[in-house]
Amino acid sequence: MNLDRVNQIINGYGADRAVSLAVLQDIQREYNYLPREALELAAGRLDMPLGEIYRMATFFTAFSLQPKGEYVCKVCLGTACHVRGGARILEAVERELDIKAGQTTSDGKFSLEAVRCVGACALGPIVMVNEEPHAYMTPDKASKLIVQLAAGKVERVEAPPAPRSARAPIDLSSVPPAG
């Protein structure tokens, strides 16, 4: 495993344990998980006990010690999504992928995560696939999305656009604009 990037990341911050969290975040971003060798290297460079690094790596949910699948599906279970049926979406995706939240499919294609609020409550229930939001989910739509992803094509599943019936523009010249 090539750990040059880890060294570069640490060099960018300076070898101080106060930056450990940022270093781990960047490693996670770089490799999509925290390789054990990278953690061991970081512990040495930052002069931290390996146990402390391991503790951080397992404490924060942003980190994973296992490689993630090609598609990381995050089903939002924030409060807003929950009251709109987020749990049912998760169940549907679990059923479709035949894995539980927190697992990766055996072919390495999908990782499923249940997350708490991605901050886009208005679009709930929401499923994020590799940082791309899929809004207004229903269990049926979620299943479809997975099938599409597995087949390699992604169609946006979106809210119906505003009705296009009222096409007649209003002439504003009769109504002078305010402000």
Binding site: P49, L50, G51, E52, I53, R55, F59
Partner: protein
């Protein structure tokens, strides 16, 4: 100094004390699980909560972390406190239903059954963090740590795997309140080589010594081992002994040092060492933890020892048969030919102790019973009356049987037959021998050693405490194996000889000493290396050898050896001897 009221009683607190410390110092009982006086307060188990009333507001706070501020009113047993503790104990009992400490505490608060569903009845860890904090704060090994969070929180080494970072100090197992940590030794640990050896890095080598001084084994001490790991830098690890020693007697910086003292006389009392029975493989020493030496038996039966004086087998059972083998390494052409003199009597004493403390049968394999001291013969008879089986004949071999029993074989010389007995424990009455560094001591003081390796006295009958070096005396087993009364007598004699010498204020020496004729001396230094009394030194500026008359015994070695014929023995010059001869022959 702060004044606060605990359960209606006014108490005083020092600066920096916590409520818990003040309460405990004043005899108030507060339960804790995650607190340890040598560690930073952590506030995790929450059992030590008390009601704190400050500025009229009452709250529940953990006493282990709450500073003892002036004017606080503390209630350690008010209903909200009791209720909260009971709920917490109920929760902890549900986590760890089979941990005695939790069971007992819960029972105190009236909880007998886990009130909530139990996930894993074998769970023992309550996540108090004592082990983690000990490993970090005291040991500085930083091996144990938490991982995960919430209910998934765990304690363990990195990646929850075996790690070479663990120094196996075992501090975590000691602080763990619930017995959740076990140390598995994969290789023989420091103390696994010998049974009944020390169990900690600080131990008392001679249990009955006065004063009873402990030593730190730097090979085992966490602090010294961490020093090694940090390549000689002082690791600020552990140091608990220093913190708890009220006398302030522990100093880690202490180094071995050479002390120079000017003295008039020297008494050499370097004692003996026990002979290692592993040198004779037929005794199987080291192959079973229940084959022990007489010295180890002493540690075992001592009230201050690891079993508090109980005589137990390695697995904690009481022995049912014990064999004691005399003359292990003594009177033996393969080891020491001499008689160690003390073994017969200590073996009898140990036989007596076994009979006294257990119901075990005792078999003594002896060659001759040398009960020569005052009252010794009577003791021998008494031990025989106590039912100890005496087998005359050397115990020849000890065999470890597959079931752990020990088979002792030997010849009963009285019956003229080979015999064996199966026992649980074998005590080897090992020889005593001169210390391993006796030759260095001998060279230092110009002492001779007898064939057995002990220091030679000036005359076996007439001068038993003196040596051939003036002002140097022998005391105790340094001279030859001795039991306690003989040692005391010998040492008394040495002391009085030394005192007598010093009391005179001056030393009478024989007039027959060697002198160097400096005109003739060529400075070859031959005499210097030959002088057994280090009485000749070389004077650089004059390039000649010179004799210290106070040290010279007039032995004449140098006179005979001097190639230049520059040394003469005073009053024994060739001319004088020739004159004497001529005078004698004048009769003829």
């Amino acid at each position: 100094m702060a004044t606060l009221i605990i359960d209606g009683q006014e108490v005083h607190a020092e600066e920096g004390q916590t409520v818990l410390e003040v309460a405990r110092a004043n005899g108030f009982e507060i339960p804790t699980l995650c607190y340890h006086p040598q560690l930073e307060p952590y506030g995790a188990c929450r059992l030590c909560i008390v009601e704190v009333i400050r500025r009229g507001r009452s709250r529940l706070e953990t006493s282990c972390t709450y500073p003892a501020r002036d004017g606080l009113v503390i209630k350690t047993k008010s209903p909200p406190v009791i209720e909260a503790r009971a709920v917490i104990l109920g929760l902890l009992l549900s986590r760890c239903p089979n941990v005695p400490v939790i069971q007992e505490l819960a029972l105190e608060y009236g909880i007998t059954e886990p009130p909530f569903p139990v996930e894993d009845p074998e769970e023992k860890c309550i996540l108090c963090g004592l082990c983690v904090r000990t490993c970090h704060e005291l040991v500085k090994a930083d091996v144990l740590n938490f991982s995960q969070r919430g209910i998934e929180r765990r304690v363990g080494p990195p990646f929850l795997e075996k790690t070479r970072q663990c120094i196996g100090c075992g501090a975590c197992t000691i602080v763990c309140p619930t017995g959740a940590i076990e140390i598995v030794l994969e290789q023989a640990g420091i103390y696994k080589e010998k049974p009944l050896g020390p169990t900690a890095a600080i131990w008392v080598p001679s249990l009955q010594a006065v004063p009873r001084v402990p030593v730190i084994d730097t090979d085992a001490c966490i602090r010294f081992r961490q020093n090694d790991r940090t390549e000689g830098e002082i690791a600020d690890a552990c140091g608990v002994c220093q913190m708890v020693c009220e006398a302030g007697a522990i100093n880690f910086d202490q180094q071995d040092e050479v002390v120079e003292v000017d003295v008039g006389t020297v008494i050499v009392a370097t004692g003996f060492q026990m002979w290692d029975p592993a040198q004779l493989s037929q005794y199987s020493y080291g192959k079973s933890p229940n084959i022990i030496t007489g010295m180890e038996f002493e540690h075992l039966s001592n009230a201050g020892g690891i079993t508090s004086g109980e005589i137990l087998l390695a697995d904690g059972r009481k022995p049912e048969q014990v064999a004691i083998i005399h003359c292990v390494g003594s009177r033996d052409h393969n080891a020491h030919e001499y008689c160690s003199r003390i073994c017969c009597m200590y073996s009898l004493k140990q036989a007596h102790l076994v009979r006294d403390k257990t119901d075990a049968a005792v078999y003594e394999f002896y060659m001759d019973m040398r009960a020569f001291g005052k009252g010794y013969e009577e003791f021998y008879e008494r031990v025989q009356e106590e039912g100890v089986v005496m087998i005359r004949g050397r115990g020849a071999e000890v065999e470890v049987l597959p079931d752990g029993k020990l088979r002792v074989k030997g010849e009963d010389a009285n019956l003229g037959r080979l015999v064996y007995v199966d026992v649980d424990m074998v005590v080897l009455s090992t020889a005593i021998e001169a210390p391993h560094d006796a030759n260095q001591v001998a060279a230092l003081f110009g002492l001779s050693r007898s064939v057995d390796g002990f220091f030679a006295e000036a005359h076996p009958k007439m001068r038993p405490v003196e040596t051939n070096t003036g002002g140097v005396f022998l005391a105790g087993a340094a001279q030859a194996p001795k039991d306690v009364p003989d040692t005391v007598a010998h040492a008394g004699a040495a002391a009085s000889m030394a005192l007598a010498l010093m009391d005179q204020g001056e030393v009478t020496i024989s007039p027959a000493v060697a002198v160097v004729d400096e005109e003739l001396c060529s400075g070859c230094k031959t005499c210097i290396s030959l002088c057994p009394y280090t009485a000749i030194s070389f004077i650089e500026e004059d390039n000649v050898a010179r004799v210290n008359e106070a040290l010279c015994k007039g032995c004449g070695t140098c006179v005979a050896a001097c190639p230049a014929g520059a040394i003469e023995a005073l009053h024994f010059t060739d001319e004088q001897i020739v004159a004497q001869i001529e005078g004698v022959l004048a009769w003829v």
